[in-house]
Symmetry: C2
Subunit: 431 residues, 2 copies
């Protein structure tokens, strides 16, 4: 099928649903593969990515040429670009996942009831997972292999700008895997990029157990409003650092600068700094100087501007709810820990929020009352990450509360099943 | 507000969203209540239900009168009816929930990373849960108190036929709770029953973290297609018993009769019997006789009818996917365990399925390959239940795979949060 061919809505429906049916069949076969088999498959996939690297890079040049023709920015083109070194990183990532512990089969709970029935709660794959993503072609491999290791089939729907690269990579993964017994259709990429295909995926709850959208607000909004199956969103990270009146100010400065500037383009970077009014006069000038040295634009509340002066832009209501992903920091002076907590619960995105304080009781209150996936005490928000948490590779950071919250790795790509064994127990033995 | 008043869509929107905002505020307060406080609240609720029993029963008579006027069946009216004894059961149920262990605060995982940060995964409430249900007014109390014990606020939307009873019960629960410090708006019932209110709830992802629909297919379909937030469905139970060639046939007969007839109206009752062809000729006539004595209508595949004769109705494709909830049983003869597994995975509802066999390997294959929430070996499907599993009271049986699968009790009404404590760790200490 050609990426640019015009397909009718009926043809798209038929194609996507056929992939769904095939994925369901593959999922049943995948669920019972042994860890050894899955790891052999993963190693074969890595080898095939290397084997087909020339072909993949050739396809990648088509995307780059199209991107240039369409006027993509330099940053976008860089994100899109593959080369030998980047492809080697992708292949190495596949081998790393082979080295992670298999979550499937873990016994989560076990109990024997008074009537003698034995109940086991055991980890099983989810089934078929749809991944909808944009731009970077490495997601094709990263997402597919994490799903595979956890026993799930995937239907991938990448962005149009990377379609040639994605198709080449998905083909290499599936072909490499099949050499070691990967069931057909375990990894399928939707070969066209019409918006209609997202709608079809969202409607296909019979075949898709979960959709994970990774991308901009527009994409996530479309998926959330249409999906009939569970969606786990990897949404905004409007992360806060609250510098309490009892903060170690040197530590608070280190954490603020690190969280804002070490990598501003990621979801666990700092966006809003909250400072207790008792220390704002002392803390803000020092930290503002260090941030200015790193070209960070500051946007402050009136109290912040009273301290730092007019070179600080006035923050408006919108700033408190903005994920800049850039060298911009919103700053607000608050009169108490309670005000900081209330601000975060109102404007934050329930991702990662940090308090810096030497006061244990204040810290514990913050950790308990801030309603976010990750709440930190005296640690840079940049540590909110599956690898930093010791989970191995992650598929993303969930900003949802159900099933998976925060860093989402292999364990979060599983469901469970109750296996119950008895000796003929019935409710009414006289029946 | 009057149940029968005509409200404009704008008024309904405003009313439901106001309840949502209030529930979010209540949820933050509920999340930090101690177990002792929550239990005192629950005991006060039970007392208030008893205190206000005359008022609740008076309101219930209005629903009964309206139901009779609207021509509700005797069974429906019985389901709607409250009396002193039934209300006492409801109040006793509230006290039972006070006696259950509090899931909030449980430490699920704890680890210290090489850099010294300490990561704790801890159970927290979900937040605000919407429960949409039909008919029986006792659900108002059962659902609200399970959500409360797990630290969640609830927005209840009951069926129109029970609106007076539901309003009276919800008021008694909230009032009784407030005497012991229940935050305002912790338990809110939508006081009108326009279909529009379901749509408003489904759109309110800012304030509702989860919707649990309990009811018929139409209701669940509406919620699934509209909801922007996670939905946990308590859907069909198309449960199977597979009598393997190596089954103890006496046990198989007991389990079949129990699973079908001990209470046919519930989701864990048997709907389709699968029998291995090697034993069908011996097993079917015996079990058919026992089922006939209990007025069970049999609908069979051609092989079943060849054995049992023409008094067995011919089953059609639709029968394999039907939840009868009645004295009807579909029967299919299969040629292998693999065929039984494939049939269940194709036609079942991923609820509860059982194999009867003395062959351990066959049983283990069945448990591993049947993709259902509960898979049983030599146990009646009627044991698929939170109380039978030892979880205490349940809010229902999830037929979904994400977050909660199978019997859903207090633990499944929680989320988790990562609390991370450090000593100033930053990603780039040179910054």
């Amino acid at each position: 099928m050609n990426a640019v061919a015009e397909l009718s809505p009926e043809e798209i429906h038929e194609a996507v649903f056929t992939m769904g049916r095939q994925a369901r069949t593959a999922a049943h076969a995948l669920a019972i593969l042994s860890t050894r088999q899955k790891n052999a498959i993963l190693h074969s996939m890595a080898a095939e990515l290397r084997e087909q690297s020339a072909e993949i890079l050739k396809e990648n040049t088509k995307d780059l040429a199209a991107g240039e023709a369409n006027g993509l920015s330099g940053a976008m083109l860089d994100r899109l670009r593959l080369d030998e070194a980047r492809l080697e990183t992708v292949a190495g990532g596949v081998e790393q996942v082979a080295g992670l512990a298999d979550p499937v089969g873990e016994i989560l709970d076990e109990r024997t009831r008074p009537n003698g029935i034995r109940i086991q709660q055991i980890r099983v794959p989810i089934g078929v997972i749809g991944i909808i993503y944009e731009s970077r072609p490495n997601v094709t491999s990263d997402a597919a292999v994490l799903c595979l290791k956890s026993g799930n089939a995937t239907i991938l729907r990448g962005g149009s700008e990377a379609i040639h690269s994605n198709r080449a990579m998905a083909a290499a993964l599936q072909e490499g895997g099949e050499k070691e017994g990967l069931p057909p259709h375990s990894i399928q990429l939707i070969p066209f990029t019409d918006r209609e295909s997202v709608k079809e995926m969202a409607s296909m709850d019979r075949y898709l157990d979960l959709i994970i959208p990774r991308g901009g607000k527009g994409l996530i909004e479309t998926v959330v409003s249409l999906a009939r199956m569970p969606v786990i969103k990897h949404y905004d990270g409007i992360c806060h650092v609250f510098v309490d009146e009892a903060a170690d100010q040197v530590m608070a400065g280190e954490i603020t600068v690190d969280a804002k500037t070490q990598k501003p383009s990621v979801c666990n970077a700092l966006e809003t700094l909250l400072v207790h009014e008792a220390v704002a006069g002392e803390f803000l000038p020092t930290v503002a100087k260090r941030l200015a040295a790193r070209q960070v634009e500051l946007r402050g509340c009136p109290k912040t501007r009273a301290i730092l002066g007019d070179q600080v832009v006035a923050a408006n209501e919108e700033d408190w709810g903005t994920e800049y992903l850039d060298y911009i920091l919103a700053i607000k002076v608050v009169s108490s820990g309670a005000e900081a907590i209330a601000h975060i619960n109102q404007y934050g995105s329930q991702h990662t929020d940090c308090i810096v304080t030497k006061d244990g009781a204040t810290a514990e209150r913050f950790l308990r009352e801030v309603d976010s996936a990750c709440v930190f005490h005296n640690v840079s928000t940049r540590f909110s990450d599956g690898e930093e948490f010791g989970f191995g590779a992650e598929i993303g950071i969930s900003t949802d509360k159900l099933h998976a919250r925060g860093p989402m790795a292999l364990r979060e790509l599983t469901s469970y099943q109750y296996r119950v064994r008895g000796a003929g127990q019935v409710k009414d033995p006289l029946s």
